[in-house]
Amino acid sequence: MMRTVALVARKEMKELVRDGRFRVAGALVLLLLMTALAFGWQQASTLAAERAAAQHVAEEDWKGQGDKNPHVATHYGKYVFKPVGALAFLDPGADPYLGVTLKLQAHQQNLPQDAAARDQASISRFGQLSAATVLQLFVPLLIIALGFGAFSGERERGTLRQVASTGVRPTQLLAGKALGLAAVLGMLLIPAAVVAAVVTLQADGAHDATGGEVGGRLGMMALAYLVYFGAFAGVTFLISARAPSSRFALVALVGFWSLTSLVVPRIAGDVAVRVVPLPTPAEFTQAVRASLEGGLPGSAPREDRVDEISSAMLDKAGFSGAETLMDESALQGIELQAEAAFEDEVYDHHIGQLMEAMARQERAAQWAALASPLLAIRTVSASLAGTDFAHHRAFQVDAERYRKALVQAMNDDFAQNAGTAGWDYKAGREVWEKAPTFEHQPPGLGWALSEQALGWALLGLWLGLAWAAAAWAAARVRVF
């Protein structure tokens, strides 16, 4: 039985390898993949170096800002830059459209700025040539080209009857053909995967804290693409078995590919924007300003809320009712912190809402993966590469947590050390150096997997359904 399958697989492989057209197509895809890998690697390393250098400059800048009041220092602020993940070169995902520089300062939560896509010519709208796009768009078409005649072609040549007469069961035939296809694709993709893996892991040796994680992410990525290709192969065999002719099978498959890979993702994005509308930047800024001036909608106005917070702080410090006994700068410090807490409430509310809406928009589009395997692999792949919105949001949350800690540390220093000097109190380099530093820890593999559970589930669903249907169709294939 296994021998039969192996025999069929060997025959399929030979046939495909000997076909000159597929050799050319395969070589072109491989060339494209290698180009994309090389270009992606070069781009990602440039970006990574730029940002690491910039982060260093920003840290030095903070430390060397000179003597000033610690609260004034928080006005001066500090820039942080989003680090580039080790796998971004494989799949830049949404990264070019996401901000990378974030100014952390008192009284204000900023959104990351300077998305790379701003500085690109309109040609960028054709999409980026990355290893991920080659794998997501080109390889499925290669699978279709290799497999559309698997059953229909044999029927037209009359060989399907002969094969059936030898007693091969249809599922064995299907398994054999699938193995043959897998072997041919493997000859093409495994070398590329090995190159990518070696390059990634080698480079990562420099900062091996994430070594195991990167290896794990790379492995899961390989698995995800395997599932994706498997789903496409299943659909190809299904249609080849059911189609009245090879010509029909090919047209139907290309139609399926173009609808699911080109049309559905764009329509899904467009509909998601309508289902979950986001404000314009001006509307957002306006809403934040309104809340800063008048308090959050449905809550107390600014002054009352600030008083509330500061008396709660005094309570906690045990000074309630004894304000007159405290020295002035300590009171100043408390007041500053109460104001900061109020501002944090406002920004947390609005930015949180915005991020939540964006995440809802992303999720709404993801459900369209029910009608498009490409959407499923795209979200999963970007998530594993750490270049999706969820990872971006994690960076933002991390940076915000750091901002609060930094502002708090500075205000605490003001409250504790200013004494009677008040606003004239100045801190120096040692205080800046003692301040917490920012090091973004990207979320782990487990988090990425659970975050993209929907994508994985839909990817698995496509694989399962496609193969169930292919097996069903192969069992009923007309032999003449």
């Binding site: 800048d61 459209y97 309109s122 709208r125 329509i267 992303e362």
Partner: protein, 468 residues
């Protein structure tokens, strides 16, 4: 004979249900794309108008405050004094300048969701300000995928439809066994194939032009004024030339006399190469040749340049106190900042312009690129028109600054009458002739290869080849 073939084919085509379905699908998608494009232009336009109106209201408010002071009312604190040209110029009084959408803006989203078509100008350096677009914010995945606009439907999907209608012009007849029958009539293979292709081209181009023109209906009056009609003509011309190219490619592939599945594979391969692979590679070349300077470095550079100034300013802001920085100090600081940041920002623009001119040359490698660039150009949603806007805003910014700086230097206060005399901005559109020249070059870049393909096909069609 040619026309007889066309007539016969017409009847054949009418009998085929699949053709109706395909054209219907195209119509539905084009209609959706047109509607979607029009609504998003409306959102941006409304947002821009609201912002401009708000800015005007703000200026009117400042003028009223100042008039009240002039009439003997209490003076306003320094930081909110609309009469102080340094303070007012630095932030209180700004001018919102807007790049109006062209009448054809809805056909191609271009970089609309990326770039800012409205800019608030103050006397502060505009080089370091972060532009905020007026389009509704969108999640990054949607931006990465791109909009479902007419440009997408025509550039990407239309060729697939043409391929579906033409991959079996000859092979289909051969496989059905009717080719021998047809060629027993007094008709050459070349006439037969060209007639069939012509008839299909007529149908597809007709439907496409009707759809494309219908999509412009949303532009309404705007289309009739200014250069609207010229733009519309360029848009339709480029579209027809693009369709012609794909028909020529189909005839050429048919002339090679393969099986219909072989033809379909070859055409889809060609489509994949020209619509996806070549543009992707061109982009790689363009970005490798002219990499944009690092924004991240710009941030630090700006910071370094401004740190002295910022320290001075944050020292004032940070103490939450009042106190007037000297007006002319502010002013010289702003000019100095421009001098230091200016060259870097210029480099951004130069690199982008260099990228664009390389694209202008390399676009001829792919008809899809030619059409896409033409549509974005005609719609006015690309980097080219934005660069023009930026340049004009620069000039205006000088004028705007001078208005305030001259008064600071002269030690004059602003009066409420000055608020009526603030400089105003109006975008000057590129003359339509130079737009026509660029798009016309693109059309040539579509028609010429199409003619070459047809000539090459004609030599192949002289031989009849296998009949069955």
């Amino acid at each position: 004979m040619f026309w007889k073939v066309v007539r016969v084919e017409w009847r054949n085509l009418l009998a085929e249900k699949a053709v109706g379905w395909l054209l219907g699908l195209l119509a539905v998608m084009a209609a959706y794309a047109a509607w979607s494009g029009a609504t998003s232009v409306d959102v941006s336009r409304a947002a821009a108008q609201a912002a401009v109106a708000a800015e005007a209201a703000q200026l009117a408010e400042l003028k009223a405050q100042l008039a009240a002071v002039e009439a003997g009312g209490p003076a306003l604190p320094y930081s909110r004094d609309p009469g102080d040209p340094a303070v007012a110029g630095r932030g209180l009084a700004g001018r919102l300048v807007a790049l109006p959408p062209t009448p054809l803006a809805s056909i191609a989203a271009g970089q609309r969701d990326m770039l800012a078509g409205t800019v608030r100008l103050t006397t502060q350096s505009r080089l370091t300000a972060t532009p905020q677009g007026e389009a509704a914010m969108t999640g990054p995945t949607r931006q990465m995928t791109g909009a479902f606009d007419l440009a997408f439907v025509f550039v990407v999907l239309l060729p697939l439809l043409i391929i579906a209608l033409t991959y079996d012009l000859v092979a289909g007849e051969r496989e059905r066994g009717t080719l021998a029958l047809v060629l027993s009539q007094p008709v050459s293979l070349a006439t037969f194939v060209m007639g069939k292709a012509f008839q299909r081209a007529l149908v597809v181009v007709g439907v496409t032009v009707v759809l494309a023109a219908a999509a412009l209906a949303s532009a309404g009056d705007g289309l009739l004024g200014g250069d609207g009609l010229a733009r519309a003509a360029l848009y339709l011309g480029a579209l027809v030339a693009y369709a012609l190219f794909w028909f020529a490619a189909a005839v050429a592939v048919n002339a090679r006399g393969r099986s219909s599945a072989g033809n379909a594979l070859a055409l889809v391969g060609l489509w994949l190469a020209l619509v996806v692979a070549v543009p992707g590679l061109v982009r790689v070349v363009v970005e490798a040749a002219y990499p944009p300077p690092s924004r991240v470095e710009l941030v630090n550079l700006t910071r370094e340049a401004t740190s002295e100034i910022e320290e001075e300013l944050t020292a004032l802001e940070g103490t939450h106190g009042e106190g007037a920085p000297a007006g002319d100090r502010l002013l010289s600081v702003q000019e100095e900042l421009d001098q230091r940041i200016g060259p870097v920002v210029v480099r951004f623009r130069e690199q982008l312009a260099a990228q664009q001119s390389l694209v202008d040359g390399l676009r001829f490698l792919s008809p899809a690129l030619v059409l896409h660039e033409a549509l974005v150009d005609v719609a006015g949603t690309g980097a080219l028109r934005q660069a023009r806007f930026d340049a004009q805003v620069d000039v205006f910014h000088h004028e705007w600054r001078a208005f305030f700086f001259d008064r600071v230097r002269a030690g004059q206060r602003l009066t409420s009458a000055d608020y009526d005399a603030l400089p105003a901005f109006a975008f000057v559109e590129e003359p339509v002739s130079s737009l026509a020249l660029r798009v016309g070059g693109g059309v040539l870049g579509l028609v010429l290869p199409a003619l070459v393909l047809l000539a090459w096909a004609a030599t192949g069609l002289r031989r009849v080849g296998r009949l069955a």
